[in-house]
Each structure stands twice: as C-alpha cells, then as structure tokens.
Assembly symmetry: C2
Homo-oligomer: 356 residues x 2
C-alpha cells in the first residue's frame, strides 16, 4: 500500500523575522491563507487516506502541526527527540510505516515546499510508485527553470522507459550546489534536474539501504524498532537518538545506492528558501511588487512587502525586501537577503531569545 | 513685564507616520523623553513664571498640551476655533496678554522647534526685550549653518549697536525660501540669517501694526477683545474667527513694518522640519546612523531608524529613513522624504482616517 511521510522538522532561518523557533517555516502562511504544512497535507489528500499520512517532526512543533491537520490520527505524528538530519528522520518514519504495512510503498515529502501544479504532482507520485514497486529508489527531479546555485542537481543517465507519460531515468550522479557557471551549463545540457528532496521507495528497500550504507544507524534504528508499540518506545528513542550521527539522506544513502531512478517533472515547485523566492512565486503588480498586507507606495518597484497588521509606506525603493511582523521588522535589498541568517546568528549570540 | 506666547497649533505632516491629527509634531518625543512642547516650556521656565506663559493652539490639541504642562494655569491655553495662520494666532494672544498687562513685552515662540543652547537662547530673549522696549519689532535670526533652501532669510541692514554681547541690526528685508544658488550666496555674504519665526515686541506695538497693516483683522480682533472676560467671549470668537482671512505674520506685518530689528544668534536651532533633520540633530553612531529604539544592522550607513516597540533589522542600507510606529511604517531614501506629504495627501483622498 501507498503511504506518505511528511518531514516537518526544521526552522527556516532565512525567513526570519516571520519564522521563529516556535513558528517554523512549515507553520507560516506564506502563500494564501493556509500554512505550508496545511498545503502539504491538502495536496496529497486526494490520493492518501488520513491514516496513510505520517508526519515526522520535533517536540517543539508537534502540537502546532496536529492542530493544523486535525484529520490525521494523532499517533501518526512521529516525534524526534532532536533533529539528526533527513536520514534518521526517514529511518524513524520507515520503521513506523513497516509496522503498519510491511509491503508499504513510502513517499517521502517535505512540509515547507510549494507546488503549484498539485494535480500533476499527484500523478507523478502514482507513476513513481510503479517504478518503486520495481525495486528502484525513486527521486523526483525538478526540471530547472533557471540556473539556480541554491539547489543540488541530479544528472540523468540511461532511460528506464516511460510510465504514465513520465520519462524515467537512471540517476548517473548527484551533485552539490554548483557555481553559477556550472549551473548554467547543467541547465543548458537538459540532462540535469534539481534535487527536490522528495523520494518514493519500498519501505523494506530503504531500510536495507540503511543496513548496507549506514550500519551503525541501522543497529540504532533496530533497537528502537524492537520497542514499537510497547511502553518502552519513548525511553528507547530518547536513549538512542542523541547518539545517532547526523546525516542527510543524500549523503547517507542516495549517492551510494544502486538502482536509483529520477523522474524529472515540471510541477511549479519552489522550496521558498528565502524572501525573494516569494517575488517569483506570488503575483506581482504592474510595478513588479509583491505585496501581502496593506501597502501605499510611490515609485516603488520589484519590492517584496510582506506586511503584518501595519500599513507599509514606501517611497523610491527598488528591489527591496520589507518584512513586517508583530515585534520585528526587516529591511534589506533583495540581493543581500542571504545575510538574514547572520542576523539570526547575531541575535542568538546576544541571547535575544524573544526574537528567535 | 515680560510674557511669552507659545504658538502650538499645526500638525507636522512631514513627520508622518509619527505625527497624526491627534498627535501633532509639538506632542511628539522627537528628542529625548520630553515632547517638543514640553521642551518649549522647559527652556523658558527659568525666565518666565508659569502665569506669564500663554499658549495658543487648536481645539483638538488643547487637552493634550494642558496635560503636558500642568504647571501652566489652564486659562493660559488660548484656543482658536480654527487655525487662520500665524498673524491671527499672535493677534489673539496679544489681546489676552494686553488684558493681563497693557505694558507687556511679548515674546512669540513656537512649540515645535528644537534649541540646543537653551542658556544662550534665554540670554538673547532678555537682550531682545531691551530692544523691544525701545519700540522695535525684534525678530530672532538664526546664523545659518548651511545654505538651506527650506527657510526664509532675513537680510541685515545697519547696525543698531550691541546689547549684552548681542549685535543688533535693522532688518533690510525678508526674503522667501531661496534657490540653492541664492542660498549659497546669502550664507557666504554673512549678511543673512534664517527667519526663525520667533519675535519680541511690546504688545501695544504689534496691535498697532495690525491696525495699520491688517485693518480688517484689527476690527475683527477688537470685536473679540471687547468680550474678553465676559460670558460672550467664546460666542464672539466662534462667530468672528471663521471670517478672519488666513495670514502669516511675515506677510501680514513684518515685511511692511518699520523699525524692525534682527538679532542673529547661534543657539543650535532646528525646526525639525522633516525626518532627516533628526540625522543632523541627534547623535549618530560610527556608521552615521541615528537610532531611536532597537536596531540591529549589517552594513547600514547614514540611516535614520526611528523605531517604536519593534526590533528593526537592516542589511545593506545607505541613506535611508525608516520610521516604525504602532500602526504604520515608512521606508524611503533620505532624499525622497519630502514626498511623505504626498503620501499623507493620498491617505486623505482615500479617507484612510485611521492613518491621518
């Protein structure tokens, strides 16, 4: 049977001051009136029963996420005592899933990405399930719309045929975030897609990969798995998890796995990695501005105004990002927005807890 | 006897969004923890008894101003039913003052200007009183610190001698706000000072000038004066005032008067006409920023952050003005700040009363 695991940990530092420790990216209403997590659940609801949707998240987020998706069984929210990267999160989800259904096809999704074409997204997932049933580890590749230096890339190898209109390829290799020049050549070649971090595989197959490629973690995972459904589960998890080495699924499993397939798709995907990505995603007015909230502007262009309750007035601005929240305000040019992380680090150093 | 009339009407549109209809410039804490009006009263308190200080203001401001200066007798706040410009405001103050003291020397001051050297300011007022006692209309000129195009200028004529170290000159003429080039030459010549809008004269003398130069207003004023101290006063004022022609004291009286003297002084005067004037007035940090409130900046220079309760974070800004209030936020480059007025006009057209 077909199951989904939504990874909903993390914070989204680059979306400060809207994102905070207790209000992470997945709980923000960045696009429309639904949170990112609500969008993530909504868009798969037509193809998954609520019982088939698992969520893995952290202690600090679980209450908020349960409230956002009350239709999901509360026990489907799997809580990591602390985040150890995507590989352990997926491993923990996998053992829960295997207990429900040893034959499960497992779809790994993220809670903080945006997908414009949800219909096509659901279609590619069902196609991918067929490829996964054939023992492949499947990854969704995103057909690149520009030479991004912010994503990892996947190089397509030999064709594995076409499933329900979707061409399937062997993965030749995963690559790191490239330089601008490399990104340009990759996109031009037509042989690369963005690594979206979404995967489809048999639950047994991924656990076998942990056994083969991350044997220490596999033993730790087995220790937790042995307590599933018993009163000792939480104690075991709390004992084991702090000892788990942090690892991503890309490094830990995907790069060293055989029979990895990629399905390059165009589904209007964005990871909303930063404020300016909203300028591409949300509608702009005739001046190229994207405005959420109340705004009065004179001679203001290509500017993101992500307002709260206040009226934001701008005069003579070009390419700026203004984010106004209840207790903090950010003003910076678009091209400097990556430095928001430095601000958050500075606030951490200064123990300005109220803004973290 | 020596009396002061503080003119405290007006709104200060250019200081939006801090200034509002019910929170005019004179009631703002722009410099330190005292409002502009409180500063205006504080700085003359050493030389005037509270009973000697009159305030002329509008209906909408009087309660707030009385609360700011509870030491002044409540009846010393003279309320104009509507603002008719500086000449009628001064006329109204003058008839009240003449009733208290027909021999009064009247000092006309403003409530929304800043004066750094209050001690020297008080000294020049007492010197000016001696010149006024000699039948002159005295105006305080401000020795210009830069070629401002935002002020009117006063050209000095013949010397009238020196009083308590202050050189006194005849006024040769008053001039309008000049072009940059004209301003430059004026300042270079050393013969001009800024028109501060502060005056010292005998109360009888100014009322005679109204009679001679603004005869229609003089008749109207006499009609109100006849009711002073009677129950008919308010009715008379409310009947007469809407018919009074708007006029400034400069056009209405000063430009056509004889025996006008100017005392050019350097007292650290600023009218705080706009947000960037605070950049000159308030201390700046090593990056040239003036910050009121909480600010964290990366690579931010020559920027005014006039914050409210929020943390303001800026990255990569140069020469910007950021004003953050409870319900509205302004972001604009310093050189565009004069367009704040256009914003206020737009809000008026759109009937956005909550922001006016």
């Amino acid at each position: 049977m077909f199951h989904a695991l939504i990874m909903a940990g993390g914070f989204g530092t680059r979306l400060w001051p809207l994102s905070r420790r207790d209000r992470p990216k997945q709980s923000l209403k960045l696009v429309g009136e639904r949170t990112m997590f609500e969008h993530a659940v909504d868009r798969i609801a037509p193809i998954f029963q609520p019982e088939q949707i698992l969520v893995v998240t952290g202690t600090e987020h679980v209450a908020s996420l349960r409230a956002q998706a009350p239709e999901l069984p509360p026990e489907n929210f799997i809580v990591e005592p602390e985040g150890r990267g995507t590989a352990p999160a997926i491993g923990l989800g996998a053992i829960h899933l295997r207990r429900q259904d040893p034959e499960a096809i497992m779809v790994v999704l993220t809670a903080d990405h945006f997908i414009a074409d949800a219909e096509r997204f659901r279609r590619v997932l069902t196609a991918a399930a067929q490829v996964a049933a054939d023992d492949h580890l499947v990854t969704l590749g995103i057909s690149p719309s520009f030479p991004s230096t912010g994503y990892g890339y996947i190089k397509q190898g030999q064709s594995l045929g076409i499933v329900e209109d979707f061409p399937i390829f062997e993965v030749e290799r995963f690559t790191e975030k490239p330089s601008m020049e490399t990104a340009f050549h990759m996109v031009e070649s037509g042989e690369y897609s963005w690594n979206s971090g979404m995967f489809i595989w048999q639950v047994d197959r991924i656990i076998e990969e942990f056994q083969r490629q991350m044997p220490e973690f596999y033993v730790q995972l087995a220790e937790v798995e042995a307590t599933l459904g018993t009163p000792g589960y939480e104690a075991a998890l709390n004992r084991v998890w702090p000892q788990v080495t942090k690892q991503t699924i890309d490094y830990g499993v995907m790069e060293g796995a055989d029979d990895v397939a990629v399905i390059p798709v165009d589904i209007g995907w964005s990871d909303i990695g930063s404020w300016t990505s909203l300028l591409e995603l949300l509608p702009t007015d005739q001046n190229g501005n994207t405005v959420v909230g109340s705004h009065v502007g004179i001679d203001t262009h290509d500017t993101l105004v992500f307002g709260g309750k206040r009226l934001v007035v701008t005069i003579g601005l070009e390419g700026m990002v203004i984010v106004d929240t209840e207790d903090a305000l950010l003003v910076c040019p678009s091209e400097r927005e990556q430095e928001v992380r430095a601000i958050v680090r500075q606030l951490e150093r200064e123990n300005q807890e109220e803004y973290l």
